[in-house]
């Protein structure tokens, strides 16, 4: 890690920055939590939390907004990993929000619980009185995210106001809020998709199996490969076929597409990503295709 000319490698700089952000939050907030979905970004974030407070345990709980449409492999991983760390896992369930009449399930072939998650998330933040919520979002993912602060203020409706963000200078983060408001904190803001994978390789962190190439029954919709699953509604004009695929992002089964791939190791995944000419969200997310400002609009409402 150290060289005599005191240069620091890219991953070490990013890691040091993320650790600093996490410690600021632990020091300045009463009740932080870390959003942990079992996706690669939240896996990296969790490893950073482990490092930031070592040898003490992670001083905040983990939370997952479970749509009920998640991949079973990822839920297994989520439970195993939180147990390993001895962390408390809060599961906020979209099904509970539906049952309680807080949200109404979408219908039709393209029905998705993606948008419903926002209500479940905000309700859980209110219920547990979380004042800081770590998210694994990166600025390179999407252009609305490219503008977002590391400490991103949310009003008491959970809303983001992109035109009225607090200036953020040096490594000085403003943690001041009133009761009922909260801050979304993004320690991986300056990481790219490739940095995340390089870090997973360097740290030798286990990841859910669906990130690696496997044979899966899929069908094609809008150029994306969607999985054969009970929760995914498939039309007669959408025939199933077997294909060698892997997932580049992990979201709901209803709106996360697989990519054709034979990458069976982290090294092969990195080689594949380095060569790809399509962004991860463009390749795999139906939720972002709605319009040019789809993410900005969802974020304003309080989405991740």
């Amino acid at each position: 890690m150290l060289q005599h000319d005191y240069t620091t490698s890219q991953l070490d700089v990013l890691e040091a920055e993320a650790i600093h952000i996490m410690r600021e939050v632990a020091a300045e907030f009463e009740r932080p939590c870390l959003l942990f979905s079992g996706g690669k970004d939240s896996i990296v974030m969790l490893r950073i939390a482990e490092k930031a407070f070592w040898p003490a345990p992670i001083p905040f709980p983990l939370m997952h907004v479970d749509t009920g449409h998640n991949f079973p492999e990822v839920i297994d991983y989520r439970d195993r990993r939180s147990a390993e760390l001895g962390a408390r896992l809060v599961v906020a369930s979209v099904q509970d929000s539906i049952d309680a009449g807080r949200v109404v399930e979408e219908t039709g072939r393209r029905a998705s619980r993606n948008r419903l998650q926002t209500t479940t998330l905000l309700d859980a933040i209110e219920e547990h009185e979380f004042d800081a919520v770590f998210g694994g979002a990166r600025r390179d993912e999407e252009k609305a995210r490219a503008k977002e602060r590391v400490f991103s203020f949310r009003d008491d409706f959970g809303q983001w106001d992109p035109k009225n963000q607090r200036p953020e200078l040096w490594n000085l983060y403003n943690a001041k809020i009133r009761k009922g408001e909260h801050i979304r904190v993004f320690p991986l803001s300056n990481w790219t998709e490739l940095d995340v994978w390089d870090y997973i390789r360097r740290e030798g962190i286990e990841i859910p199996s669906i990130y690696f190439a496997h044979t899966r029954r899929v069908f094609e919709r809008d150029g994306m490969l969607l999985p054969d699953a009970d929760v995914v509604q498939r039309g007669d004009d959408e025939p199933l076929f077997e294909s060698m695929v892997r997932y580049r992002t992990v979201g709901d089964m209803t709106c996360t597409g697989a990519v054709s791939s034979s990458a069976a190791t982290v090294d092969e995944i990195i080689a594949e990503i380095a060569a790809t000419r399509i962004t991860e969200r463009g390749a795999t997310r139906a939720d972002d295709r709605a319009s040019e400002a789809a993410m900005e609009d969802r974020k304003k409402e309080g989405y991740f």
Partner: protein
């Protein structure tokens, strides 16, 4: 591979977006689906060329109005380095955004239109980047194709800017003639300007030496968080976590704790991955000390023979960032400096600086949005400070409005 953070200043007219678009495109950081979306939007609007500024303008309001409002961060990498671009708006009403982008930058690129030469705006950008102590400055003289790649014109601009910059104490100044549109001297050397012997812009970005820009002399370790595991295995463990803000720390070094003034030695420098033999900026580590001293967040660890100033009265340049309120004498604010938060009272406003002419208006009674001035502050508890010129981490601070909780000021200690 290390990271270079750079800020770009300029308006759309200077070709800033075209330049960023080219750097991203030529380094394969723009993906096909992003480019398709931009081409589609450009076509829908009847634009003749693919408008690369659509790539960087992320908010709906920005796309609708065709302007950059806020700082956008962009990422690309070459085999030599990873780059983080803080793309900042150039217009005077967005001075605070430029200050924000420059605060963490190792280098700033100021774009000048070769036809127009050094404008008021270019001088303002140069002033702000030197005020924020961005260590390296690149003057990219753009649109050289529109002045017939004239060496004479380039030299004229270089001369004029150098003269102005001598008033600023700008550190490392590099001039590069480019055409962002045609790619001259952006990624590779231009054949149209054989008279130019220097590096291309990208080559300069890849090779500019930044490791020594950090302060490796004055040991500064603001205590961020105290780690006490309360586990049998680490029963008596007490570690002081933080990010090194200056100097090089080694186990066995004599250190002093502020505010107590007590001295002890570093017992070990811990990380999750094991103890390390030295720590320097920007590493995040945990120190264990040989003696039991009462240390908490906001304290400072330094060397007995090299201490920061312990100050309750500070002199600083302030950039005011609030939309509605003004800074006036007697204003009370929250100040956050390294890991210490206190209250500050504005004792005096000495002058307001005209960011275009550098004229000091000593009759000024307030600072409004985007205005910069010199103030005296009185703080409720001592801060451990250095001149901003010597250390950006221990010399910079933010001011927070106690009523709105907004970040309303950025300060640089003199």
């Amino acid at each position: 591979m290390d990271i270079l953070r750079f800020a770009t200043a300029g308006s759309v007219d200077d070709g800033k977006s075209t330049l960023i678009g080219r750097l991203l495109f030529d380094s394969k950081a723009i993906f096909e689906d992003q480019l398709e979306a931009v081409e589609r939007t450009s076509r829908d609007r009847g634009t003749e060329y693919t408008d690369l500024s659509l790539l960087t303008d992320g908010l709906r309001a920005e796309r609708e109005q065709g302007i950059t409002i806020d700082v956008a961060y962009r990422y690309f990498a070459t085999p030599k380095r990873k780059f983080i671009i803080a793309d900042t708006p150039g217009h005077i009403q967005y001075t605070r955004n430029m200050v924000t982008g420059a605060s963490t930058a190792d280098l700033a690129i100021i774009l000048i239109d070769a036809r127009k030469g050094v404008l008021e705006q270019s001088r303002r950008h140069a002033f702000l980047t030197t005020l924020l102590r961005v260590p390296h400055l690149v003057l990219a003289v753009n649109k050289m194709d529109l002045v017939d790649y004239s060496e004479e014109r380039f030299e004229e601009i270089r001369e004029e800017f150098t003269q102005f910059a001598s008033k600023l104490n700008a550190s490392d100044l590099t001039f590069i003639p480019i055409s962002a549109l045609h790619g001259d001297n952006v990624v590779s050397r231009s054949e149209s300007m054989p008279w130019y012997q220097g590096p291309s812009l990208l080559h300069h970005l890849e090779h500019v030496h930044i490791a020594s820009d950090r302060n490796l002399v004055d040991v500064r370790f603001p205590v961020q968080y105290v780690i006490r595991p309360h586990k049998t295995e680490f029963h008596d463990y007490r570690g002081y976590a933080g990010q090194v803000a200056g100097g090089v720390l080694k186990p066995g070094d004599d250190v002093m704790h502020l505010p107590s003034g007590l001295t002890t030695k570093i017992a070990s420098i811990d990380t999750f991955d094991g103890p390390v033999t030295e720590a320097f900026a920007p590493m995040s580590v945990t120190l264990r000390l040989e003696d039991d001293i009462d240390i908490s967040r906001g304290d400072m660890i330094c060397r007995p023979n090299n201490q920061p100033q312990v100050a309750q009265e500070i002199e600083a340049m302030i950039c005011w960032m609030a939309d509605t309120t003004k800074l006036t004498p007697r204003t009370k604010l929250t100040i956050k400096h390294t890991t210490r938060t206190a209250r500050a009272l504005v004792k005096d406003l000495h002058y307001r600086l005209d960011v275009n002419t550098l004229h000091r208006d000593e009759t000024a009674t307030s600072l409004s949005l985007n205005e910069i001035g010199r103030v005296s502050l009185r703080i409720t508890q001592p801060l451990f400070v250095d001149d901003y010129a010597r250390n950006r981490q221990t010399g910079g601070f933010i001011l927070i409005d106690e009523a709105t909780n907004g970040t309303v000021g950025a300060g640089m200690i003199l």
